[in-house]
């Protein structure tokens, strides 16, 4: 690829990022997914886990924030291509020179960025409503973990988005996918509490390594080596997701152009 083309694609991706932020900002569904739902989960988890001494407040804040991150990614990021189809802009997205993957990356990055509000909302509830002491033990390592979490989630979303268009049957299970990932990802409680046969599935999910890193860095329960391993897994899985998503988007476009499904008539 020519160097100038990289710059143009980057600019297009940033434009997709900005436009998505602006379109989502006044959306009440987005508000519910990013703020209200994680808040409900945070409040319930605080009562169930913290007040009974089963977990510390920071663990719950990070965990419920991650549920917001995942739900937002699933519903908004997962439908990022479908949404363009519903609004009649998918044909324009396909019929221009920027690769669709670049645009979807920008859109998903915006969704993940917005969903960081989930963590802020959960933190605020824990601090104000439950008056819990909340100080991140390893702030720098937490920041690195959060950055890599965003990368991992964006790339995970890039796999889901074309899959929803390739197979509407998969999309029908969208609601059913939401909670299992909360559990397999170990967002609110350790996966050691789940049956042993589920562990390999958790290992294949970047959100699981993200949760491990964020929990470890925030509570100070993980060494640098352990965090580095989590980061490495996030990067590795993120790279694999990107490769898979590239293929899926290519297949999705080929199928949509063959079957005339780029536009809903």
């Amino acid at each position: 690829m020519k160097p100038g083309l990289w710059r143009q694609h980057l600019r297009a991706g940033l434009a997709a990022f900005e436009v998505t932020l602006r379109i989502n900002a006044p959306d009440s569904f987005v508000l519910f997914t990013i703020v209200v739902q994680p808040l409900i989960i945070a409040i319930m988890a605080m009562w169930m886990l913290v007040e009974r001494g089963a977990a510390n407040a920071l663990y719950v804040v990070v965990g419920s924030g991650m549920t917001g991150l995942w739900s937002t990614l699933l519903f908004l990021g997962g439908n990022s291509i479908n949404w363009e189809r519903w609004t009649g802009t998918l044909e324009l997205m396909v019929g221009q020179p920027t690769p669709v993957a670049v645009i979807v990356f920008g859109k998903n990055a915006a969704v993940v960025f917005q969903s960081l509000l989930s963590m802020v909302a959960s933190y605020t509830v824990a601090a104000i409503l439950f008056r819990q002491p909340l100080s991140v033990e390893q702030p720098l390592l937490f920041a690195v973990s959060l950055l890599l979490t965003m990368v991992a989630f964006v790339s995970f979303g890039l796999v889901i988005a074309p899959l929803f268009l390739l197979s509407p049957a998969v999309q029908h299970f969208q609601n059913a996918i939401e909670f299992p990932i909360y559990m397999l990802g170990g967002f609110l409680f350790p996966i050691a509490l789940l049956p042993g046969w589920t562990t390999p599935f958790s290992y294949l999910l970047a959100p699981f390594w993200a949760a491990r890193a964020l929990h470890g860095a925030s509570t100070g329960g993980a060494s640098l080596e352990e965090l580095a391993f989590d980061w490495g897994m996030m990067l590795l899985l993120g790279a694999i997701y990107l490769l898979i998503s590239g293929r899926l988007i290519e297949r999705m476009l080929r199928k949509a152009r063959s079957e005339a499904t780029l536009r809903l008539e």
Binding site: Q8, T89, E91, V94
Partner: protein, 323 residues
């Protein structure tokens, strides 16, 4: 080299019918069509609804893969070199969709300019001049959700010109516009043609094709049934006169009786508000009127006029009265 070269292009849609016993069904939307556009030409593709116009445009704009045949845009194949084509063409499809309603007109254009790799400084200047061109300069900062259909259509025109494309595909651009808006848009199209853009325009407004296009292809049921200049197409019906009758509630059997009259060439019936317009093409001119009125006896008949044929009449004859 032709700007657009279409050879034996074909598109079949496959679908299934039935619930338990599913049967595959094939619909031929475009059936072995060939035509070409010279650089700088304004070419019209005319046809009734469902004739295959939009399917053709979608294949030429790389959005739909043809079932057979080939299409080259600026020498590049629409299937295998789609990426190379996309930066050099612009397209609009009629209607209100395809814009981000929560963004302003300017923000929509800024976004598409980025996707089309237009440098920000160039985009700023071009957006201002395009909004001026399409008459939206004073409304550009408003959200698109508050735009009228005509304004959205004009914003689409601005969007498609952002990257200064060499070939434009305009699929029924004036559909749904009020007469003034449609006239302004036609002027924009004329201006674009003056800039030597190659334009493929689909429409079912004959006067539009007559006024704008250098050559016209008439497409019906997926096939091209005529391809010539508007003047040459009109000459095909030069020996006919058109009897236009204002009627009310013509039943199908009466329509068939009109069709079966020996001096009648083509018949079309169009609903206009509460009334209908019955158009009969005939070689007998005004002499045919008494016989036609006789067949319509018992029905309310309003104004009757006999006139010279237009391009629309040539088109009606070509598509067998289905316009």
């Amino acid at each position: 080299m032709d700007a657009v070269e279409v050879r034996s292009l074909r598109r079949v849609y496959r679908t299934t019918i039935g619930v338990l016993r599913r049967k595959a069904k094939e619909v031929v939307a475009v059936d072995d069509i060939s035509f070409s556009l010279r650089p700088g030409e304004l070419f019209g593709l005319l046809g009734p609804n469902g004739a295959g116009k939009t399917t053709t445009v979608k294949m030429l704009t790389t959005l739909l893969i043809p079932t057979g045949g080939t299409a080259l845009i600026l020498g590049k194949d629409v299937v295998h070199q789609a990426d190379e084509i996309r930066a050099r063409i612009g397209f609009i499809f009629g209607g209100e969709r395809g814009l981000y309603w929560r963004l302003s007109g300017i923000d929509n254009l800024r976004y598409f300019a980025s996707l089309y790799h237009v440098e920000p400084a160039v985009a700023r200047k071009r957006i201002a001049s395009l909004l001026e061109l399409v008459g939206l300069a004073d409304r550009g900062k408003e959200k698109v959700e508050g735009y009228s259909r005509g304004m959205m259509q004009r914003l689409h025109i601005a969007r498609t010109l952002l990257h200064d494309p060499e070939v434009l595909f305009l699929d029924e651009p004036t559909i749904g516009l009020d007469p003034v808006g449609a006239r302004e848009l036609r002027q924009v199209i004329r201006d674009l043609q003056a800039e030597k853009k190659t334009i493929l325009l689909t429409t079912h407004y004959m006067f539009e094709a007559d006024a704008l296009c250098q050559r016209v292809a008439v497409i019906n049921k997926g096939k091209i049934v005529a391809l010539d200049t508007p003047e040459a197409l009109k000459s095909n019906v030069a020996d006919l006169a058109v009897v236009e009758m204002e009627v009310f509630g013509v039943p199908q059997d009466v329509l068939e009786r009109v069709r079966s009259l020996p001096f009648v060439d083509t018949v079309s019936l169009e609903n206009v508000d509460q009334r209908q317009s019955l158009r009969v093409q005939t070689r007998r001119g005004s002499e045919a009127v008494p016989d036609l009125v006789g067949v319509l006896s018992g029905l309310r008949v309003g104004r009757v006029i006999v006139r010279e044929p237009t391009l629309e009449d040539a088109y009606v004859r070509l598509v067998g009265g289905e316009a």
